[in-house]
């Protein structure tokens, strides 16, 4: 059982909770192979997707997971903030309409935490600014464990925009908790200060970070950064930091490559390497639905329990 009614971040979870989520995901994996890919467990439960910043993969993944468990899903299309309504007012409105679980993505770090304090419904953080994106990290951990059989002792390189990507932070917390050796490789402008305090190694070259890696997780680098002062240019980033065939050769021969978010080919990862990673990425996306099913189930069942 999860201790909290909400899933706000990996840092709030202890190791047994993380392992329980991964184990329950494993049990649900066969559902996607059935003729009828639907379970009745969350019949009568209502889930709302409240996405203040765009996301295709995460939003659809939650939608698939809800539908596979027979929950009713409300996708909030037009954002209430456009009408000047606060996040909490919106959530209270949803709660009054009987919503049991709110999946929220927001540009401000801490918005889901604030929301969770003010409503009884469960809140799942689907990415809050640069802060956390716990389900994505759990998906990555699950995909690694499923493919390589373990996480403890593995060398994992995190590349790309570590500063802004919520998933990269959650990946880091999650993999360190589960005993992986995490090495971050990115320009200093894309690494938050003090990151090494979280138990990872910080490098400013990709070559050092991917050396002998079992797993490489690349994070999307926004195409906008070339226009501000974070990067001299996208071309320069690509030249020095893109995961290309030469840099990939420094990792273990059967290295597993995962990616969070939409791929910018030729920026954080070359088209050739992205193609090579395709089977892993497909597995990561499929696991995303199953893992979110496990999380929705566990949160929905936890409710109403003393």
């Amino acid at each position: 059982m999860l201790k909290s009614k909400d899933l706000l971040g990996i840092r709030e979870l202890d190791i047994p909770e993380i392992e329980l989520i991964l184990d329950q995901t494993a049990k649900l994996e066969e559902v996607s192979t059935r003729a009828v890919k639907k379970l009745p467990a969350l019949r009568g439960k209502i889930v709302a997707n409240l996405f203040y910043t765009p996301s295709t993969r995460t939003r659809i993944s939650f939608e698939r997971a809800c539908k596979a468990l027979s929950a009713d899903l409300i996708n909030i299309g037009q954002l209430p903030s456009a009408l000047g309504e606060t996040l909490t007012d919106t959530a209270l409105t949803l709660q009054a309409m009987g919503v049991d679980i709110i999946v929220v993505r927001h540009h401000l770090a801490g918005a889901p935490v604030q929301l969770a304090r003010n409503i009884e419904a469960s809140v799942i953080n689907a990415g809050d600014g640069a802060h956390e994106h716990p389900t994505q990290a759990l998906v990555d951990a699950y995909t690694i464990r499923r493919t390589l059989g373990r996480i403890e002792g593995l060398k994992v390189a995190l590349l790309g925009d570590i500063r802004h990507a919520s998933a990269a932070k959650s990946d880091l917390y999650c993999l360190v908790k589960l005993g992986a050796q995490v090495a971050v490789g990115a320009p200093s402008t894309l690494i938050p200060e003090g990151l090494s305090e979280f138990g990872c190694q910080v490098f400013h070259t990709v070559e050092e970070a991917v050396d002998a890696a079992d797993v490489i997780i690349t994070t999307r680098v926004s195409l906008d950064y070339g226009n501000d002062k974070l990067l001299p240019s996208l071309r320069e980033y690509s030249r020095f930091y893109s995961l290309n065939t030469e840099r990939l050769a420094l990792a273990k021969p059967d290295v597993m490559i995962l990616h969070s978010g939409a791929i910018n080919r030729g920026v954080e990862i070359t088209a050739t390497v992205a193609e090579r990673a395709r089977p892993h990425l497909q597995r990561q996306i499929a696991a995303g639905v199953t893992l979110r099913m496990a999380v929705l189930y566990m949160l929905a069942m936890g409710k109403g329990v003393a």
């Binding site: 066969e30 559902v31 003729a35 009828v36 379970l39 189930y297 069942m301």
Partner: protein, 183 residues
Amino acid sequence: MAEKNRDLIRTGVVADRDRLEELLDDLVERVAREYAGEPDLAVVGVRAGGERLAHLLADRLAGLKGSPVPLGFVDITLYRDDIHRLGYLPEVGATEIDFPLDDVVVLLADDVLYTGRTVRAAIDELIDFGRPKAIRLVVVAERPGRELPLQPDYVGLHVTPAPGELVLVRLDDPEPGVFLYRR
């Protein structure tokens, strides 16, 4: 299971180890003889209580037919009708049915038939995998107290416990047998 069956006090023995083995042998033999000629056959055990019986049935049928019989398991957790009122999180177990169920006779195996709610859930789950030609219910023990209109096709033992008593079949514990318990 652990949370459901804690603090139970044993109040009687319906069948000891030897009697249980005997009645399992009889039950398996009876069912296997009847279905050995069925060309499209599968055995499915309800987790966790029906697993041992399912294995025994599949093994005996394979022996009689001279070829393996598909064997699967259903975990009914996500199909329970009381899932929202349990007061704890029932952990999901793995359902394993890696063969087609369309137009197959399914022998559904469980330990005790009581209210019938577990069997209802198991049937609903099976039907999500396909449309079996028929589903036959085989149970080690049957007791009164049905809450749904379901009856077994093959029974090892009929038990009539006193009000408030539970019937538990222990198959793999250090002490196998059919026992009565009280909370």
